[in-house]
């Protein structure tokens, strides 16, 4: 059985892909904010026409990567390239749209007014009616921004990203704070963009979202890219199982078994996260004939994702105490 660390090594070279035009890239980019290393030696390529999901927990460096690609931050090392140029250049900006996380948007302007203004910045914007339709804003075009619900506000920000009909869109946590229905509706709109040939880089901390949308998932944690592949490859890597049982075996003994990612005591029972259930269950039964209350479940996506973003060097020997950090 492969250990996590070994698998990750394998994946950092990336799957074989046919050569395609690079729409945007970070080459060996590092970015520090004071003592905080937001990105460390990151290589990221977004090919024309694909949807890349930058997946990682909060504080992983996702927003920093987007800000660098938008020219809102300068790298301490490495090169940022968008459409073969500097992201600061107005001609590059005319081909990109951005949905950023923003604390406050002018509230007294109407939805259609915000869109009218942002459309005017671009050489060939979408007709306003189409922008409104794409973002599902037709019914609320005359409402003031301040009177909108959270989901509607997100949709307006989405509309501002796409109204200029740019070739490349950056969506920073587009569905954060949305309910399930609103999230699915926005996913549908993002899919339509890609179907129209747009290139999209979106950041998310939901594995499910990356899975639902992306051609390629780049997992980032603590400023480093820890895995990269198709959603299926990522899911395989994170498709762990969780074993529950009551056993008299000691925690360290179980933890030392191959394929055990994590273990903790939950009241009387033990909760063991593993890569594959069968070998571990076999071994547990062999060592403890009294073992009782055995249950095997597919680990939640989020748990599995945590396993993936644990410190790479420590891979399969994670201390139970550091879980969920």
């Amino acid at each position: 059985m492969q250990t996590m660390a070994a698998t990750q090594q394998l994946w950092q070279t990336g799957p074989q892909q046919p050569p395609a035009t690079i729409a945007a890239s970070l080459d060996g980019v590092s970015k520090n904010y004071g003592a905080v290393k937001a990105l460390r030696q990151v290589d990221l390529k977004v090919r024309a026409g694909e949807l890349v999901a930058l997946l990682g927990p909060n504080g992983a460096g996702k927003t920093t990567a987007v800000r660098l690609l938008l020219g809102l931050a300068k790298p301490n090392a490495g090169r940022v390239n968008v459409f073969g140029g500097n992201p600061l250049h107005p001609k590059v900006r005319m081909r990109t749209g951005a949905m950023l996380q923003v604390a406050k948007v002018p509230e007294t302007l109407r939805v259609k007014e915000h869109i009218d203004l942002f459309s005017s910045y671009y050489p060939t914007p979408l007709p306003p009616a189409q922008t409104l339709a794409c973002a599902g804003l037709r019914e609320i075009a005359d409402r003031r921004f301040g009177d909108l619900s959270g989901g509607q506000k997100q949709r307006v920000l989405f509309a501002l990203a796409l109204c200029g009909d740019p070739d490349l869109l950056f969506l920073d946590e587009p569905t954060v704070g949305l309910d399930v229905e609103a999230r699915r509706a926005l996913w549908e709109e993002i899919r339509k963009l890609v179907a129209r040939g747009k290139t999209v880089l979106l950041t998310t901390h939901y594995l499910q979202e990356a899975d639902a949308l992306a051609d390629r998932v780049v997992v980032i944690n603590r400023g480093r890219i820890v895995a990269e592949g198709t959603p299926n490859q990522i899911k395989q890597q994170t498709a762990g199982k969780r074993i529950r049982c009551v056993s008299r075996l000691e925690l360290p003994e179980i933890h030392a078994l191959p394929g055990v990612l994590d273990i903790r005591r939950d009241r009387d029972a033990l909760q063991i996260d593993v890569v594959d259930a069968e070998p571990v269950v076999r071994e547990l039964l062999r060592r403890d004939s009294q073992l009782a209350g055995l249950e095997v479940a597919t680990a939640g996506l989020e748990e599995a994702f945590l396993a993936l973003t644990q410190d790479p060097g420590r891979g399969s020997e994670t201390n139970p105490d550091t879980r969920g950090k």
Binding site: L72, Y121, L157
Partner: protein
């Protein structure tokens, strides 16, 4: 679909046709105006406070002459300066502070908006409100204060005061780069109100205590008020060139400070 290979970025070619650039500037200004017009805290107070003060101190208090003109006429330029200062300072400083502090400016910066359009829009918006205040002051004075000035002088005062919004918009930009989004209005009032009093905008200059009359000599609103008063011959008869010099110098200093703030943001927020 366009691909990366066809992007050739030549820095010499203009980014967009001049006509389109002009259209962006106009739209930016229009929406900046609508945005503020719909904020009653801004639009109502910026217009009503100078009018209310003018009614109380100019129309209600009676008509004694000041420097050879009726107080009702004298106070139009001074409350006009008070009005344009409010429109300009609140119109630029509080919105800039809020927008750069709460992320909206970042969204705009990430877009292909011409950067200057954002600032020019605030100047234009403030000038429109400034003009409105001054015109309304004249309307009040003419209707209820018996003010009878030749049309040419009236127009000259309006133009001078609207042009005088530029130094205070510049001051607003400088402030907007150095105050927080929530503290901005309070901070502005803390500067705006004493500055107005000491410049002789509320009470005619000649009624101010001696010490304050000395202080007024270094305050930009005093110099703008003197330029406007001089049009009706009610100023302190100092050199108009000196007034202009002070105002231009003040504008340049404020813009310099705003540039420092801009650079600071470039390095800190966007560095």
């Amino acid at each position: 679909m366009a691909t990366a290979s066809e992007v050739l970025i030549s820095s010499s070619a203009p980014v967009r046709p001049a006509r389109q650039t002009l259209r962006i500037y106009l739209k930016e200004a229009k929406y900046e105006f609508l945005k503020n017009l719909r904020i009653p805290r801004y639009s109502i107070s910026v217009i009503l406070f100078p009018l209310m003060f003018y009614i109380l101190f100019g129309l209600v208090m009676g008509r004694q002459p000041v420097n050879g003109v009726d107080i009702t006429a004298y106070l139009i330029p001074t409350y006009g300066v008070f009005g344009i200062m409010g429109a300009s300072l609140f119109g630029t400083a509080s919105s800039l502070a809020a927008e750069r502090g709460l992320g909206w400016l970042e969204v705009k910066r990430a877009s292909p908006m011409p950067p200057f359009a954002y600032f020019v829009a605030k100047f234009v918006m403030s000038a429109i409100f400034s003009g409105t205040v001054v015109v309304l002051l004249f309307a009040m004075g003419i209707a209820f204060g018996g003010v009878r000035l030749p049309a040419a002088e009236t127009l000259q005062i309006i133009v001078t005061l609207v042009a005088g919004s530029v130094p205070f918009c510049s001051m607003g930009l400088a402030l907007g780069y150095f105050v927080g989004p929530n503290s901005a209005p309070a901070f502005i009032n803390l500067i705006y109100l004493p500055l107005s009093f000491c410049s002789g905008l509320w009470v005619p200059f000649i009624f101010l205590p001696r010490a304050i009359r000395h202080i007024a000599q270094v305050l930009p609103p005093y110099h703008l008020a003197q330029l406007a008063l001089d049009i009706v011959g009610a100023g302190q008869h100092q050199s108009n060139w000196m007034h202009w010099e002070v105002l231009i110098g003040f504008t340049l200093i404020c813009l310099g400070i705003a540039c420092l703030g801009y650079q600071r943001d470039e390095n800190k927020l966007y560095g």
